[in-house]
């Protein structure tokens, strides 16, 4: 009895010590998560592979579409490193982050990698990201990687106006933001209320690119156009346009329109310069349980090889040297020149204002 009590006390002390030392699964003499993540030396790859062999798996919290891109990436990666298994949990940004926060509060460190247009930023604000170094960072321009190494980028999203080609004649297609104010479109447009991809983002682009004064004046005129709002996703709003409910779908993903058009649907997309763009970022969790394997995956998804998987899945790769499968979906591909990249930090900090602006102006 006494002995078992002593054992319990001893194991409690050991547990507390383990928690205080901040390392779960960390053994004396081994490199810390931070050391592994920031490692920049000639034998980096070798060390990562050796460590990853012991770890065996990676847990990836993703906002990407499993069927379209996560599975192909997983397959390609596991082919490259057959000793690793990629497990993924898919959800929208808010839920992924909440799940991770709740787990971290309970000191349950499951997640290695988290992605999203805004989720890594939220995690970073909670101080739960680990900075990392990857040799492929050198290939990326400044706006597509974090200056301190908190995130890299896998793919981009560009927004455009989608239109039903049976309902909108070629010469009527609104080419500019100004064209959307034409009385012809009053009550004929729909947009999504989604914070991450709908009306608030479009409002943000307008306010930031036109300037606050001119932007607000423009948005007041846009309000008079009676745009229908829906909580449906951008994809569904485009489908309603294909079905003929509304001739114009504002601020939809250009690759969605392209995919439907390729299938024969009466739809096309029209960019308004500068085109809003959001960045799919990817980041490393602070207490990643499989740091070596996680670094290998981060390297892979941003490498040219990994980016080709995104390309083949009809996603728009971030890597400057990897064009889109349909080249004109990216800037400089022939259909538009300028993109306005919304920095994840700006999206996080200003997002609430844009939501508020939308609620106050367009919902009243």
């Amino acid at each position: 009895m006494v002995r078992s009590k002593a054992t319990v006390v001893a194991s409690c002390i050991a547990l507390v010590a383990l928690v205080l030392s901040g390392g779960v699964g960390r053994t004396a003499g081994a490199a810390t998560v931070e050391e592994i993540a920031l490692m920049n030396r000639a034998d980096r790859q070798k060390i990562l592979v050796e460590g990853a062999k012991k770890e065996g798996k990676i847990s990836w919290y993703t906002t990407l579409i499993v069927d379209q891109v996560v599975r192909p990436v997983k397959e390609a990666f596991e082919k490259e490193y057959p000793f690793l298994q990629v497990e993924f949990f898919r959800g929208n940004a808010e839920r992924l982050v909440q799940k991770m926060f709740a787990e971290y509060q309970a000191k349950r460190y499951d997640v290695d990698i988290i992605d999203g247009t805004v989720s890594p930023t939220m995690v970073r604000r909670a101080n739960l990201l680990q900075r990392f170094y990857s040799p492929v960072f050198a290939d990326y321009p400044a706006e597509l990687k974090d200056s301190q190494g908190y995130w890299g980028s896998t793919n981009l999203y560009f927004f455009a106006t989608g239109y039903n080609t049976n309902m909108v004649k070629a010469n009527e297609v609104p080419k500019t933001y100004e064209d959307l104010l034409n009385p012809r479109w009053k009550g004929q447009m729909m947009w999504s209320t989604s914070r991450g991809s709908g009306a608030p983002i479009m409002i943000g682009t307008i306010l930031n690119t036109m300037g606050a004064e001119a932007g607000k004046a423009y948005l007041q005129k846009l309000k008079a156009q009676n745009i229908a709002k829906s909580t449906a996703s951008n994809r569904q709003i485009l489908d309603l346009t294909i079905a003929g409910e509304y001739p114009l779908a504002l601020h939809i993903f250009n690759h969605h329109a392209y995919i439907s058009k390729s299938a024969g649907a009466p739809v096309d997309w029209q960019p308004h310069e500068p085109v809003t763009a959001t960045i799919q970022t990817i980041a490393l969790a602070k207490n990643t349980p499989h740091p070596h394997a996680a670094m290998l995956l981060l390297d892979f998804v941003m490498s040219e090889k990994g980016q080709k998987v995104f390309q083949q899945a009809n996603y728009l790769p971030s890597h400057p040297k990897v064009p889109a499968k349909q080249a004109d979906l990216k800037p400089g591909g022939g259909r538009f020149k300028r993109a306005y990249y919304i920095d994840p930090d700006v999206q996080y900090d200003k997002g609430n204002e844009w939501v508020e602006y939308f609620n106050n102006v367009f919902m009243k």
Binding site: V66, Q98, E103, K229, S233, D239, A243, G244, V355
Partner: protein, 593 residues
């Protein structure tokens, strides 16, 4: 005690026939099962409290504190209640909410109730259609069902273009993005719930009351109005209350159907506000706390009304199978009503979903479009990651939750109806509260709870099961409560007098007699749990995928055809399981119907 002439006659006959026997039996029964009752009470309270109180605490806390980015409680605030007040001061959304909830609950009750009456009480042909329609329409994923109606009634949809041609109009005739559109779709969604509950109630009806009414010269219509329908008061109350609350706090239909037409309800701003980062659910929390007070008051009143529960007993020791009403020539009218209901509730939305699932992209119904038919969407749907695991998990969860909820609430209702323990309306309140918890707040509460307590359910199916059981207790309690109110206690007492134990009486008397309610509730919860989303998205793990989350993923990211194909497959599986269960349970149940 008795206010209605008919029930007075009934009570009188009971007293004269066996008053003394009943009293003796009651005394004996009380002695016999006192300990059992206490045990059951403690067990039911413990289980219900364990399930309901942690999320309740969380909801109240959410409404009173700001949270930090990581979700920890930060500072006390009354801001959320102030927001709610200022929202309530604007008349428009409040009125819209009231019209919407009231309209949906009444129309659903009217629809479901009429069909239940035709199916259970008359000799109209096509009666089997009622059950099938209810199961099949309720088994269709919620989002898909709504989308189906939007496509049908949309500006460019087939119904509008047909009406346009017929009425020679230039613009669309029906505007679905309106208050009426919202009420229509919401009430269709809820009418299977009404049907299942009222069908159970109608089937257990003391024929002597109606016969007495008929003997006294009342016509069929008068008997229905003054006897039958009044006896159904507890069941009616249950359905109206439940649908009213659900509509009041729902944001799916208001968002998808109302918002495009600028119809705002109280939950619209809560929904839009919840998009802010870091997420704050205080407004949603305050809204549900307000609803809790309203519901508590309503339940207390209801409890006072049904306290003299004897008035609603329709199943007594003297036969309880209602006579079938012969409609004569009217039976064909009743049958066509049934047929129309089936077409509107099931066939139309299902056809449009099927149509969408067979096309590479959505085209309004036309002959030319037939040439584009493809099975591509079905192939995509069948390749959805872990689809077999998802289906298996969802069915397991449905079976598990429906069974657990019905058993738990049967005991809880028995305590509410049969015992005289003071304050038992609190148990009723406790079992109704989960209805009011915002799904996301409840999901987070359960997630955090099981990450903290050392019960290893996190990341398994068990945590989903616990969440589902908690979520669906309110539905179970309404089914079993209204079912038990109809059972006269003389049946149990007779059993005790004959020497049966408490458990024996429960198993051999109570359970068989409330089979219709029990089955109705079971099927409803089984189908409902297959749709649960707001908690599932937080609680699933990579190893425990469920179908509703897969459908949500498709809804957010896939084309409408892929979503439709997946939905068609899933509805077919779900409805088959529900029907098989229902048939087996009826076939091998103690009670033959």
């Amino acid at each position: 005690m008795a206010k209605h002439p008919s029930t007075q006659a009934y009570d009188f006959s009971l007293k004269s026939a066996g008053a003394r026997a009943t009293r003796n039996a009651a005394a004996l029964g009380a002695a016999l099962h006192f300990d059992v009752v206490t045990c059951v009470m403690i067990a039911v309270l413990l289980v219900t409290g364990y399930l309901v109180l942690p999320p309740l605490y969380s909801v109240v806390q959410t409404s009173l504190f700001t949270t930090r980015l990581t979700g920890e409680i930060d500072q006390f605030t009354l801001q959320y209640y102030r927001n709610l007040l200022s929202e309530l001061r604007v008349l428009g959304p409040l009125l819209n909410t009231l019209y919407f909830s009231l309209g949906a609950s009444l129309l659903a009750t009217l629809l479901g109730g009429s069909v239940a009456w035709i199916v259970t009480r008359t000799d109209a042909p096509l009666r089997g259609l009622g059950y099938f329609t209810a199961f099949a329409s309720f088994g269709t994923p919620f989002i898909l069902y709504t989308i189906g109606w939007l496509l049908l009634l949309g500006k460019a949809g087939p119904i509008n273009s047909w009406l346009k041609a017929w009425l020679d109009q230039s613009g669309p005739v029906i505007n679905v993005y309106s208050l009426l559109g919202m009420i229509f779709i919401e009430s269709l969604l809820w009418s299977p719930f009404v049907f299942l509950m009222l069908a159970a109630a109608f089937r257990s009806m003391d024929p002597s009351l109606e016969e007495a009414s008929a003997v006294c010269g009342a016509r069929l219509w008068q008997t229905m109005r003054r006897v039958s329908l009044r006896l159904m008061l507890p069941a009616f109350f249950s359905v109206v209350l439940l649908i009213f609350i659900r509509s009041f706090e729902s944001f799916e239909i208001p968002a998808l159907v109302g918002l495009p037409g600028d119809i705002r309800v109280l939950t619209t701003s809560i929904y839009l506000d919840a998009q802010k980062l870091p997420p704050q659910y205080g407004n949603a929390g305050a809204f549900s706390v307000l609803l809790m007070f309203i519901v508590a008051a309503t339940l207390y009143l209801y409890f006072r009304i049904t306290r003299e529960g004897d008035r609603f007993h329709t199943v007594t020791g003297k036969g309880y199978r209602p006579t079938v009403i012969h409609l004569g020539r009217w039976r064909y009218l009743a049958a066509s009503g049934l047929f129309l209901y089936s077409v509107v509730l099931l066939v139309l939305p299902f056809l449009i979903i099927l149509w969408a699932s067979l096309l590479p992209f959505y085209i309004q119904p036309s002959f030319e479009a037939l040439g584009k038919f493809t099975l591509k969407n079905y192939i995509t749907a069948l390749h959805f990651p872990k689809i077999t695991d998802s289906i298996k998990n969802s069915i397991l969860l449905g079976l598990g939750s429906a069974s657990a909820v019905m058993v738990l609430t049967l005991f809880a209702s028995w305590l509410l109806v049969r015992t005289k323990i003071r304050g038992r309306w609190l148990l009723d309140l406790l079992t109704t509260l989960p209805l009011l918890f915002p799904g996301i707040v409840m999901g987070l509460a359960i997630l955090r709870f099981y990450l903290l307590v050392p019960i290893p359910v996190y990341g398994t199916l068990w945590i989903l099961w616990i969440a589902f059981v908690t979520r669906y207790i309110p539905y179970g309690i309404r089914y079993t409560h209204s079912g038990l109110l109809q059972l006269h206690k003389e049946l149990e007492e007779a059993s005790y007098v004959s020497g049966a134990s408490w458990s024996g009486s429960m198993r051999r008397i109570v359970l068989p007699l409330i089979t219709p309610s029990f089955l109705g509730g079971w099927v409803f919860i089984f189908l409902l749990s297959a749709k649960e989303l707001s908690m599932s998205v937080l609680l699933v793990s990579p190893q425990t995928p469920v179908v509703s989350v897969a459908i949500f993923e498709l809804w957010e990211n896939a084309q409408v055809g892929e979503l439709a194909a997946f939905g068609v497959i899933w509805s077919a599986i779900l409805v088959s399981v529900a029907i098989v269960y229902y048939l087996i349970a009826r076939r091998y149940g103690v009670q033959q119907s």
